[in-house]
């Protein structure tokens, strides 16, 4: 059977969506499944469905995805270099192995965090030692975004100023790290 979305690749994955009594099945290729799991489910409105329901759907979809993926290629098992937790292990247990897992699996985790919390960026308490660096990094990101906008608007003079600010800010951050 061909993938019902791209209609090009062979469908290797079945995504089952069960909401209340309505069950729908979608046969897709692994590429489209990736896209679907990363995007469409996050558009569910929290007001319409409870979180447990969404989680259950999600876990069943993940489980399906993983089964097929395992058969297709055993080579691509991502493993956190710090604690040896594999992504499959996380999918099965729901627990991450160490702080580094959040960085190592960020690409995979972000959509999940979005679905769980509606956000993937921490706001709130920051340990004092990290606070200063945190503020600087945030500022740096803002300047970089501004630079992108300036380039798009062809405001090159402003862009040059922003670039210098970025270089200075990055230098300060780097020095801060060495201290």
């Amino acid at each position: 059977m061909l993938c019902q979305i791209c209609k090009k690749n062979k469908a290797t994955i079945t995504i089952v969506k069960v909401i209340e009594l309505n069950k729908t099945e979608l046969h897709v290729c692994s590429e489209c499944a990736h896209y679907l799991l990363g995007n469409s489910i996050s558009s569910f409105s929290f007001s319409q469905y409870n979180i447990n329901e969404i989680l259950d759907n999600l876990l069943s979809a993940f489980a399906q995805y993983d089964k097929v993926d395992n058969i297709v290629s055993k080579k691509n098992i991502m493993t956190c270099p710090k604690c040896n937790m594999t992504y499959n292990e996380f999918v099965q247990s729901g627990r991450l192995g160490c702080g580094n897992c959040y960085e190592y699996f960020r690409k995979q985790l972000n959509p999940l965090l979005g679905r769980l919390h509606g956000h993937s960026q921490h706001i709130g308490k920051v340990p004092l030692a990290i606070k200063e660096r945190f503020v600087r990094l945030k500022r740096l990101k803002e300047i970089k975004d501004e630079l992108q906008r300036a380039i798009l608007k062809e405001e090159y003079e402003k862009a040059a100023q922003l670039r210098d600010m970025i270089i200075a800010e990055e230098k300060r951050l780097k020095n801060g790290n060495n201290e």
Partner: protein, 358 residues
Amino acid sequence: MGIMSNKEAILIRELRDTTAQWVKGDGPFNHIVISTRMRLARNLKGIPFPCKANNEQLEQVLIQSEKLLKNNKHFCDFKIIKINDLTDLDIQFLVEKRLISITLAKLNYPNRAFIYKPDEVISIMVNEEDHFRIQCLLPGFQLEKVWDMVNWYDDQIMNEIEYAFNENEGFLTSCPTNVGTGLRASIMLHLPGLLALNKINDLMANISEMGYAVRGFYGEGTDFLGNLFQVSNQITLGFSEEEIIERLKTIGKKLIEEEEKAREELMVHSKQKIEDQIMRAYGILTNAKIISTAEAIDLLSKIRFGLELGILTKIGYDTINRLMLIIQSGYLQLLKSRKMDENERDMTRAKLIQELLD
């Protein structure tokens, strides 16, 4: 389970007989809100989370927490119980006294510990799902105070120990459902009025829409035994601690308001019926010879309702709260210092209730 050391045995005996601050039941809005609780999930930087840590690494976490007690003046009156040195019954008792989680009880990690202040307001579970679970529990509806306390102790720990934290996901936790603030804030409410008038379902739907969960008190599958409801935040990432707490405050206020309305309505339309139910409950509890946990919880809720409405005046909230805890099977057996079968427990429970209500 290891053989209980003498030190652990003494601490468990102390905990068996002491009354936690929240049990005194004298907080704001105590006619509806029994207690306010918060916990912060924290992990130590550079050490894998308990599910991936080896024995040595878990021991490192325990040593760090022992150092904290030894070296930090704010923790000098705290006590530490090593969970792995306890009997199954002691562990069950700690769960029933609301001191440790079922997770800490059930996980088979070595080097688990429970650190607490003797008034049981502040405590830390060590090597639970996360390295530290810092908790604060007070009577009544006092979210700000509980937050101030748990936050302050968290700061003191941070002066000594570096946590696993990053700029994106905040405080890093083993389960992604806790990441960010690591904060779970909850209030426990007694809502017999709303339940009697069948008004709870709509309110609960609203609460879950706001990203907050409603659970019973006596654990999964017990429904809302004793008309007790626990409301807590589900979302921990992308909102500040203050925002999470403010929302819970709004929910709490709404529930208090609605429960008060329901009680007024009940007193206008079915005063006799309610009084009858309360007095019957009192009659059974002060006379029965055999009573199960579920029946006792149900009747104690009616007596609590009697206090809240001013129908019963001779009993205090402290008595009801204490009874709510000691009627559970583990606590009961620990009080009598022996294992009992169900039948014997039901008889002992009935006797104990009469002693406390007399």
